[in-house]
């Protein structure tokens, strides 16, 4: 039972692991918050400024949609991450560590989340928006009282998917000195051939992803009043594309 003893004696697990978990949670948490703060308004803008939307701005919409969202999404995250190191240094004052990694993580996931937000908003029937317009709602009131609440189950599902993606990206960020579980697995599991560390980090990442998914699904079910209570779990998974997790 070499592996089992190793679990309690290996300093990589007893000392470095708790720290790595903390760093991963920090990275995912901070970038998650910023992704929502930037991505939600951006997604709403993409939806409302589209031709035929609440406030059509065809040119601006095209520019934001094509250049920002599509181009940033088409750059592989590993490359985006490296290219953003100078920016991270300007914002956080350092180019290594969990805090620096949140800059590239946020920029990497904002376009992804914004697209999911836009998709979730498109699911709202136009009749609801018409009804709100005829009531005399302002555009802002439509965003706050119709778009966001009506799309909430879809938005929660979008956030769940984004958080899972963030876990994957945060592991990648470990390779460029971001810290966290990814770096632990790379330094000990890959470079030192320490299988125990590798297995433990994999298990922890799987548990973390599962936990995010469970919480996300539970919240989505709670906020979904669209049909009888049983339909909640099925619907909340609608916006979930296949996501790759890992280093």
């Amino acid at each position: 039972m070499n592996l089992f003893e190793d679990l309690f004696s290996n300093p990589a697990i007893t000392k470095a692991l708790p720290e790595a978990i903390g760093e991963t949670l920090l990275m995912v948490g901070i970038s998650g918050v910023f992704t929502v703060l930037i991505g939600l308004p951006l997604g709403i803008f993409l939806y409302t400024s589209a031709p035929g939307g609440l406030r059509p701005l065809p040119v601006t919409n095209r520019i934001v949609s094509d250049i920002v969202v599509n181009i940033t999404r088409s750059i592989p995250f590993a490359i985006l991450m490296i290219s953003l190191i100078p920016l991270a240094r300007i914002i956080t004052g350092t180019s290594i560590g969990a805090l620096a990694a949140t800059v590239s993580l946020t920029i990497g996931t904002v376009p992804f989340f914004a697209r999911l937000v836009e998709t979730a908003l498109r699911d709202i029937s136009s009749g609801k928006i018409d009804a709100a317009l005829v009531m005399g709602s302002t555009r802002m009131q439509i965003v706050r009282k119709v778009l966001v609440p009506e799309a909430l189950p879809g938005l929660v599902a979008a956030l769940t998917t984004t958080m899972v993606t963030l876990v994957g990206y945060s592991a990648m960020a470990g390779l460029t000195g971001g810290g966290g579980l990814g770096q632990l697995a790379y330094n000990y599991g890959y470079q030192r051939f320490n299988t125990t560390v590798m297995i433990v980090t994999i298990v922890l990442i799987v548990i973390l992803v599962q936990a995010i998914q469970w919480i996300g699904d539970a919240v989505a079910r709670r906020v979904d009043h669209r049909s009888a209570a049983t339909a909640g779990s099925k619907k909340s998974r609608r916006h979930e594309p296949a996501t790759v997790v890992g280093v």
Partner: protein, 347 residues
Amino acid sequence: MLAAADQDPVPNQPRIHVITVSDLRKVYRQGNREIVALDGVSLEVPKGSIHGIVGHSGAGKSTLVRCLTLLDSPTSGSVSINGAELSAARDADLRSARRRIGMIFQHANLMDSRTTAQNVAHPLEIVNTSKDAISTKVNELLKLVGLEGFENAYPSQLSGGQRQRVGIARALASDPDVLLCDEPTSALDPKTTEEILVLIKDLTKRLQLTVLIITHEMHVVKRVCDSVSLLAAGRIVEHGPLREVAASLGSELSRTLLPLPSAEPLGTGVVLEILFSGDTASEPVLTAAARRFNLDLNVLAGSVETLAGTQFGHLRIQLPAGTDAGPVVEYLHSQGVSVRTAGKDAA
């Protein structure tokens, strides 16, 4: 209550038109082609009355609804509600003008994330009504539409008819002058349709509303409308009080209000189409004519209905072969019955 019951001080004075639509045009561009959806629609609806707009799909009904609420801006022409011009209004003016219109939709269009009470409160929230005032008003409205006890139900827990009731309560929340109904019963079963129509009619009386119902169901017009317009290819081709349009033999609206099943004539006798109403003919003219001319009349098809409180009869009858139709037609005319020989008008 929700609106003061205005009494007309001078009964003979011309009635105020709450809804005035004049020469409304809407042209869509589709590539290089221009599609004329509305081709000069004019319409006036007097206070307190229910006006129906009927038409086949593609006639421009949906476009008209969207132009009336300025969800689509008309190419030209004007829409005014109680003298306030909607088509010229922008932003804040348009929003306050829209609050004078309550609108109900085919599929109710309730917010799924809001309970019944919250849905009804929605129009009040957006004008920053106090919580107390909202709660009083919502309870009053839910009572009015018969939904007490459903305050906390979500739309998904309600039946189609209940959802439409919530829609009606929501439409009335801002004390509108006008209730605009876009296919209000087209998604409902016959029994629920009847209940919703009774409710609309009742509310119109109690709240002195002016109602415009856009529908493809003639049944709705028969049941609640005071006047009706027929929309075809973006134009109003026939219009008038229900009683008048029904009494006009041979018109499209009369034919759809009082439909006759097709039936093959028997033999060679002249076929007459006759139309009488309780206003013009209360006597049993048909049997009187039969006796007077000693005829055996054959009724091929008939439709008898009470429209706007008046009984109408629309019959297709056949005279025995060889009978001269002239005197019979003349006699029926003298009795206030509209007659035409099958296909064309008889004098």
